[in-house]
């Protein structure tokens, strides 16, 4: 049996989902400086690709929270991969503040474009529809509007400009042979995929055939129309979860939150769980 030859993202033929070798290959296809759309911790995060981005020493990434960010952003910020963040929040949820984000902002090392969830979602929807902006009610009295020169106030509405990420990155439960990926009810991932120039997806398990032929699976699918490349990454969302397959590793999240309070602790965490690939993909 001859080994399958996988392309790199740069070599991809257009308009066809490519199957890459692994999370490292996906990370290699995300250019430095890219506007990278990432989901919240509860929504299928491609953590193994995030770790691979740190291993490949990605630089100057601009992260977009769809619509908030968690551990993935904190890791990338702590590892000096990030120049700027646009998000409605960065938090580790029950595990508390995101320590590397918090310190980077307090020390003036990270630019933050503060937003609010529906503004980001509306900005992505504007791109989905190919219109320059999307109006949003309600938020005009927030100081966010004063800080956001790109948001225009019109009467009681705020016009949020279209957001077009360079890359949408997430983890799917399945990818099939046609290049479709299944994300179930996490439809903000579809919004991000539709609005981004490139959509890169790691996945948990292979699904034979074409999921669009299955009436029950099809509604949870993001069609291959939007999927630039996928790669198999078993347990690729760990320590976050894939609903129905494995849950969030809350103990690990708490350990991370504690370790990352100091730069030294964060560095030790990286050495143990990120920079040593074998260990990071086979948690206890």
């Amino acid at each position: 049996m001859t080994a399958r030859v996988f392309p790199t993202v740069a070599e991809l033929p257009s308009n066809r989902t490519a199957f890459l070798q692994d999370a490292e290959a996906i990370a290699a296809g995300i250019p430095d400086g890219a506007l990278l759309a990432l989901p919240p911790d509860y929504s299928l995060v491609a953590m193994e690709v995030v770790r691979a981005l740190i291993r490949r020493k990605a630089k100057n990434l601009r992260l977009l929270g769809v619509p908030i960010l968690g551990m993935s952003a904190d890791l990338l910020i702590g590892a000096s991969c990030v120049a700027e963040v646009e998000t409605s929040a960065v938090s580790l949820g029950e595990a508390g503040l995101a320590p590397r984000f918090t310190e980077a902002v307090e020390r003036g090392l990270l630019k933050v474009k503060d937003a609010t969830c529906p503004a980001i979602l509306n900005g992505l929807q504007a791109t989905e529809k190919g219109v320059p902006y999307m109006p949003l009610a309600g938020i005009a009295a927030s100081d966010l509007v004063k800080e956001r020169g790109d948001w225009k106030v019109q009467d009681d509405l705020v016009l949020v400009p279209a957001i077009k990420p360079d890359v949408a990155l997430f983890h799917a439960r399945w990818a099939d042979e046609a290049g479709n990926v299944w994300v179930g009810r996490r439809r903000e991932l579809a919004t991000a995929a539709h609005a981004s120039r490139m959509c890169l997806v790691s996945f948990e398990e292979n699904k034979p055939g074409d999921m669009l032929e299955d009436e029950l699976l099809a509604p949870g699918v993001i069609s291959s129309i939007y999927v630039t490349a996928t790669a198999h990454a078993p347990r690729g969302a760990w320590p976050l979860g894939v609903p129905g397959v494995y849950g969030v590793d809350d103990t690990h999240l708490s350990q991370y939150a504690k370790a990352a309070r100091t730069r030294e602790g964060f560095q030790r965490y990286l050495e143990e769980w990120v920079l040593t690939p074998r260990k990071s993909t086979s948690p206890a």
């Binding site: 619509p67 979602l121 309600g138 009295a141 903000e188």
Partner: protein, 225 residues
């Protein structure tokens, strides 16, 4: 305090604020509001509770925008917000204060003005959290109430001022000492009514089970589950 947990008492106060409400959405990290909403649901079975970040059986199937779309249409009448700072004009700050950075505004800038019955909830009742004027306005709105670990305030929309309604376990002086903004005091101000036997039975029975599914650590701490 009587033979009940502080969390149980706060949940009872929240439940009592929900009379007439039809649909509460509960955001991230809100075990006490969730407990209060589930308690109210025991008395009003038509009351709907949607937990936004539910890990299993999440009610939203169109992604995170669905919560905001529902609120934009007026289909949610109850929401809970906290804040690193809350001021006397009912503005909340989730971004930065005293040189410290907080997670960010989340959906508050939209939800607070759009949801008619927003309840402000912050357990810490201090001059650090309850300030004359927030350093950054994440959101403004007209809340149904402000509940802290020490007291319950109503919001007087016409005067744009809070009014102290009841105190859980402190003196009037203690509330004044720990509140950074000016407020009125109701002529009927008194002790917050403790949980009834019936409320405690519901909390420790069916409500605890519902809460434990999404807030296991909280359920363990409060009810030893």
């Amino acid at each position: 305090m009587g033979p009940y947990a502080k969390e149980e008492h706060l949940a009872c106060v929240i439940a009592r604020l929900l009379g007439g409400a039809r649909h509460a959405a509960i955001g991230a990290s809100s075990p006490i509001p969730a407990t209060g909403a589930f308690l109210h649901q025991q008395k009003d079975r038509t009351f709907r509770v949607s937990l936004q970040q539910r890990r299993a059986a999440n009610p939203f199937t169109e992604g995170s925008r669905e919560l905001f779309d529902l609120a934009g249409q007026g289909r949610i009448d109850t929401f809970f917000l906290g804040g690193a700072q809350i001021d006397g004009a009912a503005a909340i700050n989730l971004v930065r204060a005293d040189g410290k950075r907080f997670p960010g505004s989340f959906g508050s800038a939209f939800m607070y003005p759009m949801v008619p019955g927003t309840i402000l909830f912050r357990e810490e009742h201090s001059r650090r959290t309850l300030v004359p004027k927030v350093e950054f306005v994440s959101a403004r709105g007209d809340p149904r109430a402000l509940l802290t670990g020490k007291a319950l305030f109503s919001w007087q929309k016409d005067k744009r001022r809070f009014r102290l309604e009841s105190i859980h376990d402190a003196s009037l002086e203690e509330i004044a000492e720990n509140t950074g903004f000016a407020y009125d005091v109701s002529s009927r101000v008194g002790k917050t009514k403790p949980p009834s036997e019936e409320e405690l039975a519901l909390l420790r029975g069916p409500v605890a089970k519902l809460v434990a599914a999404d807030y296991p650590d909280f359920a363990k701490r409060v009810w030893g589950m």
